[in-house]
């Protein structure tokens, strides 16, 4: 397992794609701070230290679009390039190979969130200073705030992990980066459309739609951060019909376990003909 992780880490440091994803996330977070900061009355949650929570909420919002690119291409490209042969003819533990790759990718998600916090620090400071509210709002930072910040970080990471694993599973099953990324991103869009239709149909359909993964991922970070955001602000406002945090954690864990099981069983049993 360590050998696989060492190998995947070296690969991560050499590949441009994670850096491009990070760059795009940074750009979008800056734009989000700029857009939100331009609207009088909605700026309060951007000032530090709340700006850190805002950065994590934005990162979580972008998760369905960025992490599938990483997960899907990571798994699918091994088949496209044929490097799966290179890996498994050196070290044939297929389960360890997948778990090693996913471990490093999950570390990459965490590192990206740390980068988002740094971006949030700079952007929040600038928004505060430029709007005449100072670089740091005093009286907000407390042990309770730090606890919420940590939980928000973990929530954003958890949501990122779900989309990463979803696309990794699709990339592995279909042996294609394009399909992995497509299913990873497309499933969210499809869920949103289907959810609308099912909700309109009502009854059992509506109940089914309430358990789509997107229901659990879309506002998880915001739900966790809400107690430390300005009460009544647009960022702190969440729908009343959203599932609780505990339920979201459990259901997403079940979804991830199913996706992981599909990935591992596929890898374990299938011939490598790529």
């Amino acid at each position: 397992m360590i050998a696989y992780m060492s190998f995947e880490w070296l690969k991560l440091t050499k590949r441009w794609m994670p850096r491009i994803i990070l760059f795009l996330m940074v750009c979008l977070t800056v734009l989000a701070f700029w857009g939100q900061g331009s609207r009088v009355g909605n700026q309060g949650d951007l000032f530090l230290p709340r700006g850190w929570l805002a950065a994590l909420i934005y990162a979580s919002f972008f998760a369905p679009f960025f992490w599938p690119v990483l997960g899907g291409s990571w798994a699918g490209n091994e088949y496209g390039w044929g490097t799966i042969r290179m890996i498994l003819t050196r070290r044939p533990y297929r389960i360890q190979h997948a778990l090693g790759a996913l471990s490093i990718l999950l570390v990459a998600v965490a590192l990206a969130l740390v980068a988002m916090l740094l971006v949030g620090s700079v952007a929040g400071f600038l928004v505060g200073v430029l709007t005449g509210n100072g670089g740091f709002t005093s009286g907000v930072l407390s042990a309770g705030f730090l606890g919420t910040l940590l939980k928000s970080f973990l929530a954003a990471w958890y949501v990122g992990a779900f989309y990463l694993i979803l696309a990794y599973a699709a990339g592995t099953v279909f042996r294609s980066a394009a399909v992995g990324i497509g299913i990873g991103i497309g499933s969210t869009l499809a869920e949103v459309v289907l959810r609308g239709i099912f909700t309109a149909l009502g009854g059992t359909w509506r109940d089914v739609a309430q358990h789509f993964p997107v229901v659990y991922t879309q506002d998880m970070a915001r739900l966790v951060a809400a107690p430390q955001l300005i009460p009544g602000s647009s960022m702190a406002s969440v729908g009343s019909d959203l599932p609780g945090i505990g339920e979201s954690i459990v259901l997403l864990a079940i979804y991830m376990a199913i996706l992981l099981a599909i990935t591992l069983v596929t890898l374990r049993t299938r011939d490598v003909t790529a």
Partner: protein
């Protein structure tokens, strides 16, 4: 086709299994398979393949495209699971000891596969990490495969020959006892092919075992101790190169009374098939006995006008034994 080859083809069995000193080798084989079979639905890719590769020999694995060579190599390396049968490498069963086997094996399967975004050197670093070996040998490996100056270049910018050489380097990184090489000469220029030949010979001299598949039959003929020819997943023939080709040397005899000469030669026990075409006879006989052929004919007052040896090449032999089966 000669009488000898017909027997070989019918049985699909080994013609001979002798080392250079003429004795059967004993002990554990480097690679051994028994009734190895792989089917995909109704398609039988490999059909009850039994082979034995001795230690420190270069074994040529030949066959037309789609014969089952790569599938067999994939099975030996654990990429593809056999439908039935089994194989042992270095005395260990591939079904139960694959990690230990791969730690002592280097391989190239089909085209070289590396990460296009990384340099040749970084790709070797990745292989080293996977194999659990030190990265300190990478400069020497790059030097060995003549890629020292291109080590920092991205793999995607490599020519096919450079990619192939990097693959050979990666296969040698863990100092393997066995090399399983699928078309290692693909894309190499003539100088590269010669270098590859020398490398194979050197590896053999150092005690490595090499299982090699290639369509460059001239090279196979020069470097392999023994070969196996596969067609439609089945063994057509296997044996030592010398024996397979040596038994098929032809003498081209030009003589006036060819029909009488044919009858005389067919009665000689050490002469195989005789084919007549006008005043020309093709006589399956060892080239060293050309003088005996002329003497036997002269004793019957049949005088040879011309005599020319036709040495059998592996290429010709390969086409002979696979073309009849191709339909």
């Amino acid at each position: 086709m000669s009488k000898t080859s017909e027997i070989q083809l019918e049985s699909g069995a080994e013609v001979t299994d002798r080392s250079q000193n003429g004795h059967m080798r004993a002990g554990t084989a480097a690679i051994e398979s028994s009734e190895l079979t792989k089917t995909y639905g109704h398609l039988v890719a490999v059909d009850h393949l039994s082979l034995r590769v001795e230690r420190a020999e270069i074994f040529g694995f030949l066959g037309p495209n789609g014969a089952g060579k790569t599938t067999t190599m994939r099975m030996l390396l654990g990429l593809v699971r056999p439908t039935s049968g089994n194989a042992r490498i270095l005395g260990m069963d591939i079904a139960t000891h694959l990690p230990e086997i791969l730690a002592r094996t280097g391989s190239i399967i089909e085209n070289p596969t590396f990460y296009p975004f990384a340099s040749g050197r970084d790709n070797l670093r990745m292989v080293a990490r996977l194999s659990g070996v030190s990265e300190s040998s990478i400069p020497a490996i790059l030097d060995l495969v003549d890629l020292s100056s291109a080590g920092s270049k991205n793999f995607k910018a490599y020519s096919l020959g450079m990619k192939q050489r990097l693959a050979v380097g990666a296969a040698l990184l863990n100092e393997p006892e066995i090399l399983i090489l699928d078309e290692p000469a693909n894309g190499l220029d003539p100088a590269g092919i010669v270098e590859m030949r020398e490398l194979m010979k050197r590896l053999k001299d150092e005690g490595h075992t090499v299982l090699i598949s290639s369509h460059v039959l001239h090279e196979i003929e020069q470097i392999c101790d023994r070969i196996l020819i596969l067609n439609h997943g089945r063994v057509v023939v296997q044996g030592s190169v010398d024996t397979l080709l040596g038994g098929r040397d032809l003498l081209e005899v030009r003589i006036e009374r060819a029909e009488e000469a044919e009858a005389v030669l067919l009665s000689v026990p050490w002469i195989g098939e005789v084919t007549r075409d006008g005043d020309r006879l093709l006589v399956a006989a060892p080239l060293t006995r050309a003088a005996d052929v002329t003497r036997i004919l002269a004793e019957r007052e049949l005088y040879v006008c011309g005599l020319r040896p036709q040495e059998q090449s592996l290429e010709r032999y390969f086409l002979d034994v696979t073309s009849g089966d191709a339909a």
